[in-house]
Symmetry: C2
């Protein structure tokens, strides 16, 4: 199904298939330079490295014991067994946190604790439980060890000058640990995208107000702000902007100047949608990239790019707005955060069995909200949450969603579906 | 396999199976009262509701159109079709954001936009594309509508006094949207757990320092802080505390007084582990709950409860410490955050095919770190990341982990494993 084959109900323009719309959007954004900043290590959690990091040193810098026991020359223990132990003289002890003093000579050993540095001469550790004390100065070894046993060698964790972390790596807790272990105190990461959010429509009042008859509380502002925050964006909520063309244009223009992404929502009526299109075109090139996608809910989305700011005109219905966020804004935010779209493309999903037949129109992607119910055999049942796209409570009841693809006219009960979690 | 059947290598005490250790821990914590606080709505994202929330009003408060078109009396359109249209007079227009004025009489209709309030007398909306204008005052209806078509009814999203969200519900973006839509500006949620983190061991220096020979940089402090932050905890890093009994005890006692959970790490040596045990017992009842679990890596973990603070003595090796966090501290934090352990127990995992044989000792749970590689058929291959538990880089290279259960002595190449993601 090509874009040409798809029309909206007014026949005004071709609807773009979801995948094509996403490709167009991400291709345009990928051409923009990513912004960078330098952060102290602890502040870099969940950020993406803008450079490769090479290890400035060997980690560990010296062989260390991984067991409590005795540092030995492995050759001294060869052949040792329960029935035929060998005997070693205790010639010293490794004090934790200090450089080892002295050297392990043939037939001798040093007492050592986990983490202790191996003294000169030794090349293995025999653990306590494979030794039997003879007296204060002598032990029996009842199991032989090979060279390198029970120790972590110099550079075994990571070698000097090797890549510790690659460019575009997302910094997880263990990655901060690795960098801390290497003494790297500051890192260059991509900047968090800035997102400006506007709600529009003369029927909308701030949610903290009691709306007079005819008006409703703004739901999209807080929902979209929370969604963007969770993606790691820095969010500015510009509140409610009148849908008078002049005021609306000025509001979106200011947000576009101050952010990397602008989301406005509220334009489900034809008039509002036309206004949104005009405003995006007026803001600067290349202007509108996508007007309307073959998707339900979420069809009337507008996607534009003005100078280097992505502008999304989201449907006013809360469910549609959130679906458009999931499918388009989220990926755009990840790309601008520096997370490569093509690498590590696994997204956790839950396989579940559909509990009823669901119809769908061919030619569009359908997104079906579901509750998940765990069965006695610990598999999951997906129970569709039905309701209009203006109904925010349907999203609140949903645990996730699955897709019915463009070609399909529906899915039968008991079919296995892949549920994307809304957590 | 019971606890009695398991011994650590020193034969000193029974090792507890992982599941039993977790059950003991969570049972003790579940008996503690959860702390609450009241927050403004936007600050409550990702927090858990401490009370059920009932809707103070119908949402929407009035029937609204979900289409651009004409508000009609459905009965007037019955039988209308392309070949046999019916005719209605346009008798008014609904101004967006205002209470509707006037009433729709038989044979008449009002122009209405998406979101507009239905005027008196009307009970359905005919969308524009099913009408043909005759002149300024008259339209042809070419498709009949039933009562309630193309509108969202009063209370259809949520009815007054119905439960909008249940107690113990995790507040996601769409849930904030629902509460905003109902005008609920403050919510009672469970308090974020406070976590105090100490690193110990005389061989440890702060990671920002250059360690002299014999010492190493603290890796666990920053890693555990980041892990706890990601779980929504309020973290205090107490830094490095000497393993001298008196100083160590004072440090842990202060942290225990100031937090809901205390993590200390560094005690992989037998001496340090004994010290940890003594300190936990000395802090208050019930003291030690678990000493050592049948798990690799992570065996030497200590779990205690002193007054109402959970104390975890984590192994010093970074990999072991992080594994213990995943399996024990994370669940404890979720429980103290108010997330019910037994509801919605789905955890996203990736199914992957193991790319080599892995051995395991029966009698303990083995956690195997893996990299995930996507294949041409888009399935995943799990490639074990081998390395010692002191090697932080192995965790940095891992995309996730899977378990080899207590009974098993290994898993064969090409077996499907469930990989928990380390994202």
């Amino acid at each position: 199904m090509t874009a040409k084959g798809l029309k909206d109900m007014l026949g005004r323009q071709g609807l773009t298939p979801v995948e094509e719309a996403l490709t167009i959007l991400l291709r345009e954004l990928a051409a923009l330079p990513l912004k960078r900043e330098r952060l102290p290590l602890p502040a870099a959690l969940d950020r993406v490295l803008a450079v490769e990091i090479r290890s400035p040193e060997d980690l560990p810098s010296h062989p260390r014991s991984t067991m409590d026991g005795f540092a030995v020359r492995a050759a001294d223990t060869f052949g040792a067994s329960q029935s035929m132990p060998c005997y070693l003289e205790i010639d010293g002890e490794i004090a934790m946190g200090h450089a080892p003093e002295g050297e392990v000579h043939k037939g001798k050993c040093f007492r050592i604790a986990t983490g202790g540095l191996l003294p000169q001469g030794s090349d293995a550790v025999v653990m306590f439980e494979h030794t039997i004390p003879v007296d204060d100065r002598m032990i029996e070894i009842i199991k032989s060890v090979g060279v390198g046993t029970n120790l972590i060698d110099r550079g075994e964790d990571i070698k000097k000058d090797r890549a510790a972390l690659s460019q575009d790596h997302l910094l997880r807790p263990q990655d901060l640990g690795l960098l801390a272990g290497l003494g790297i105190g500051e890192v260059d990461v991509y900047r968090q995208p800035r997102v400006g959010i506007l709600s529009t429509g003369d029927e909308i009042v701030p949610w903290a107000q009691t709306p007079p008859l005819g008006k409703i509380r703004d739901i999209n502002g807080i929902t979209l702000s929370a969604l963007a925050s969770r993606c790691g964006a820095q969010v500015t909520d510009y509140g409610i902007v009148s849908d008078t063309e002049e005021i609306f244009f000025a509001g979106v223009r200011q947000a576009a100047q101050e952010n990397d992404i602008v989301l406005f929502s509220g334009g489900s009526s034809v008039g509002m949608r036309d206004l949104g299109e005009r405003v995006i075109e007026k803001l600067g090139n290349p202007g509108i990239l996508v007007h309307g996608v073959a998707l339900k809910p979420g069809k009337p989305i507008l996607i534009g790019l003005s100078n280097s700011t992505a502008i999304f005109g989201l449907p006013g219905h809360p469910v549609s707005a959130m679906v458009c966020f999931e499918l388009f804004v989220g990926p755009a935010l990840r790309l601008l955060s520096g997370i490569p779209v093509s690498t590590k493309p696994f997204k956790p999903t839950i396989r579940a069995r559909l509990d009823r037949n669901i119809n769908s129109a061919a030619g569009r992607l359908d997104l079906v909200r579901v509750q998940l119910k765990q069965q006695e055999d610990s598999s999951f049942l997906a129970v569709p949450v039905l309701g209009k796209s203006g109904s925010i409570s349907t999203l609140s009841r949903a645990d996730g969603y699955f897709f019915i693809d463009t070609q399909s006219q529906g899915i039968n009960k008991d079919t296995e579906v892949k549920v994307h979690l809304l957590q």
